[in-house]
């Protein structure tokens, strides 16, 4: 127990070092600047990590399925724009580094109001109420121009000329490090919360809300407090968003972002504390990276999500954790060859799938945009038969082959599990 948790700490520490070093890996010596694209992507990863972690305070830790989490992120963002505008004209004396505290409090304030309604219920009824709250706030954002600025949103200038450390926060790299700092602080605070009486009772009410009442706790109060605190952290994420982009529109509180929070927490693994961070990094990579290359990146996110829900409901972290006992017992070697044998057909299958999706997309959207499909420097005409045939052949052959290999992999895996866990039998 002790040993594995300190090993985990080390991994996260290395990840933090990587996050700090990453902009310098992509330093461009010709322009003397870091890559703007990389910094923007890394910044996004930071705020999405906070959003996903705070979402997981509900999903993973309290068993609450919320569809309105972006509302608190968004309100943190909107409020921050107004705080920055006030700070900019000198009527709010606060250094930029501490503005996210106000953003968090804005999220918390709104979460008190909506949490009071939503946490009266649990399970499906809770989810329905949050769905309603999400719609309500999206509409409100378009109706109340004074605060939300309508469709165009509200904007600001983050260079308020007030900093604890004397930074101007003009260059994106400075803002990025502010985000890193707040991501670490928020993540540590949220980790701390999981080890307090409230955090533990949230787990308990996730497992069995009824029993919670018979050990003296009001499960509604547990849900409410957990909801409010998660709203606080979502607000911090939104504040960083506002500081980064200097503009907030209703996208920042609308349903797609709420869905994203869910996706990230789920794909990363909601059972592990760090899972949502993994999910946030992965989804942001897909969003920023793959969206550059392909119009259909959302298709891939969707398919990934479906595949995860079906085959790995514990998420990426769950997959990793499943290997823990095997590696610790020094029995990973027997898995190496089966893994290679699974990965090869999987790659072929994925290639075929990507081929089909891209061909289809170029036939429709691509044509409208006047783009041409380029693969390894060769132009490919999606109106000819060959590429389609090839893609489908890859997909079909890959899938069939994968199924065979997956079955034999399963056998090896079950054998190992039975060997390591004789009393529980085949997992």
């Amino acid at each position: 127990m002790k040993k594995s948790s300190s090993a985990q700490g080390l991994v996260w520490f290395i990840a933090l070092i990587a996050a700090i070093a990453m902009p310098w890996v992509f330093y461009n010596y010709h322009t003397g600047r870091q890559s703007g694209f990389v910094i923007s992507m890394l910044s996004q990863m930071g705020m999405m990590s906070i959003l996903a972690l705070s979402y997981n305070m509900l999903l993973g830790q309290a068993g609450l399925f919320s569809f309105c989490h972006a509302v608190f992120f968004g309100i943190g963002g909107y409020a921050t724009i107004h705080f920055l505008n006030l700070a900019g004209d000198g009527s709010l004396p606060i250094p930029l580094e501490l503005v996210p505290v106000l953003s968090g409090l804005s999220g918390l304030g709104l979460a008190v109001v909506f949490g009071y309604m939503a946490t009266k219920q649990r399970a499906t009824a809770f989810a329905m109420i949050t769905l309603g709250i999400g719609e309500l706030m999206t509409t409100a954002a378009l109706m109340f121009h004074h605060f939300f600025g309508g469709e165009g949103g509200v904007n600001t200038n983050r260079m308020i000329g007030h900093s604890l450390f004397g930074f101007k926060y003009g260059p994106a790299i400075q803002v990025y490090y502010l985000i890193v700092g707040w991501t670490v602080i928020s993540a540590l605070l949220m980790l701390y919360l999981t080890r307090t009486p409230l955090g533990r009772m949230a787990n308990a009410s996730r497992d069995n809300f009824e029993r919670v009442q018979f050990v003296g706790y009001d499960p509604r109060m547990v849900r409410f407090l957990q909801f409010v605190l998660s709203g606080f952290f979502a607000g911090i994420g939104g504040g960083l968003y506002a500081i980064t982009y200097e503009i907030v529109t209703f996208d920042a509180l609308a349903a797609p972002l709420s869905a994203n929070a869910l996706l990230m927490a789920y794909i990363g693994g909601s059972a592990a504390f760090g899972g949502p961070i993994v999910g946030a990094v992965l989804i942001t990579l897909l969003q920023s990276g793959v969206s550059l290359m392909s119009n259909s990146w959302l298709v891939y996110v969707g398919v990934l999500f479906i595949a995860m829900v079906i085959f790995a409901p514990q998420g990426v972290m769950g997959l990793i954790a499943a290997h823990g006992p095997i590696v610790r017992a020094g029995r990973f070697t027997p898995l190496l060859v089966p893994y290679l044998r699974v990965i090869l057909p999987a790659l072929i299958m994925v290639l075929g799938f990507v081929g089909v999706v891209e061909l289809a997309s170029f036939l429709t959207i691509g044509a409208a945009q006047g783009k041409t499909l380029v693969l390894f420097g060769n132009k490919i005409d999606e109106h000819t038969v060959m590429p389609w045939l090839a893609a489908f052949a890859f997909l079909v052959v890959g899938t069939l082959w994968f199924r065979i290999e997956a079955r034999s992999f399963r056998k090896v895996w079950d054998g190992l599990m039975g060997e390591l866990n004789p009393e529980r039998g085949v997992a």
């Binding site: 009486p197 308990a204 497992d207 069995n208 050990v215």
Partner: protein, 250 residues
């Protein structure tokens, strides 16, 4: 403190048209070990659900140490010193055995909804949890998720969580159901140990357990008390023999 721990006055409960509990009057004295027996469907578990606040009464009054508790939510009744177990094991299945017991201790030790207290540094709380583990013979299963425990161990944990908070009135709903003979003996010994100086009310089908543990037996048939008293009296009661014990013997 009054001599009566739990007092039911003309308690009724209907689900729609069906009357499950019909005018139950019952006094349970402080420190008593009280068994409620009766055929299936007699309303024993429903009675527990009424006392513990899980269901609202249709009419009547329930007093705990002289204070009205009917109409209060379960967590309030629990805080007043009444704790119950469940016939179908009700634990936090993804949390470890240790965490389950610690959760059951939290409120009674005054932690409330604290989100600032670091649990790992609460010496007294953690030591108390370890002592509970010891008492329940679950020390070796400390880190096992409760959902993966054997049935008998889960039942022991269920009892442990019920008594952990130090409630003075304990309701146990079929604590030995589904256990082998040895497991039942262990469970009886455990119940005897943990119910010392407490008021114990239990629903039980195993007559051996009932006559072993109970000072007073109440027989419930179709939602009505047909007899209540010391084991010998109840055993000799012709109405009981006909309605229940006789039916079992036949």
């Amino acid at each position: 403190m009054t001599d009566t721990a739990l007092s039911l006055r003309n308690v009724n409960k209907s689900f729609g048209q069906t009357e499950i509990i019909r005018g139950v009057n019952l006094d349970i004295r402080t420190g008593e070990r009280h068994a409620i027996i009766g055929p299936n469907g007699a309303g024993k578990t429903t009675l527990f659900n009424l006392i513990s606040g899980r269901f609202p009464l249709s009419s009547g009054e329930i007093e705990l140490h002289g204070t009205r508790v009917d109409g209060l939510p379960p967590h309030r009744i629990n805080r007043m010193g009444l704790s119950r177990s469940f016939q179908i094991t009700s634990i936090f299945h993804r949390l470890s055995v240790f965490e389950n017991l610690r959760c059951a201790l939290l409120w009674s030790m005054g932690y409330r909804y604290s989100f600032w207290t670091p649990l790992w540094r609460q010496r007294e709380l953690n030591e108390k949890t370890y002592r509970m583990l010891e008492e329940l013979n679950l020390t070796s299963r400390r880190d096992t998720p409760a959902g993966l425990l054997s049935y008998a161990d889960q039942r022991a944990l269920e009892i442990g969580m019920t008594i952990a908070g130090g409630a003075s009135v304990i309701l146990l709903d079929e604590p030995t159901a589904g256990m082998s003979n040895t497991e039942t003996d262990n469970a009886v010994a455990l119940i005897r140990r943990v119910s010392k100086d407490k008021t114990l009310v239990m629903v039980e089908h195993d007559m051996k357990v009932v006559f072993d543990l109970a000072d007073i037996i109440t027989v419930l048939v179709y939602g009505q008390v047909i007899a209540s008293g010391p084991p010998q009296t109840v055993r000799a009661n012709p109405a009981v023999q006909e309605a229940y014990l006789g039916a079992l013997a036949a």
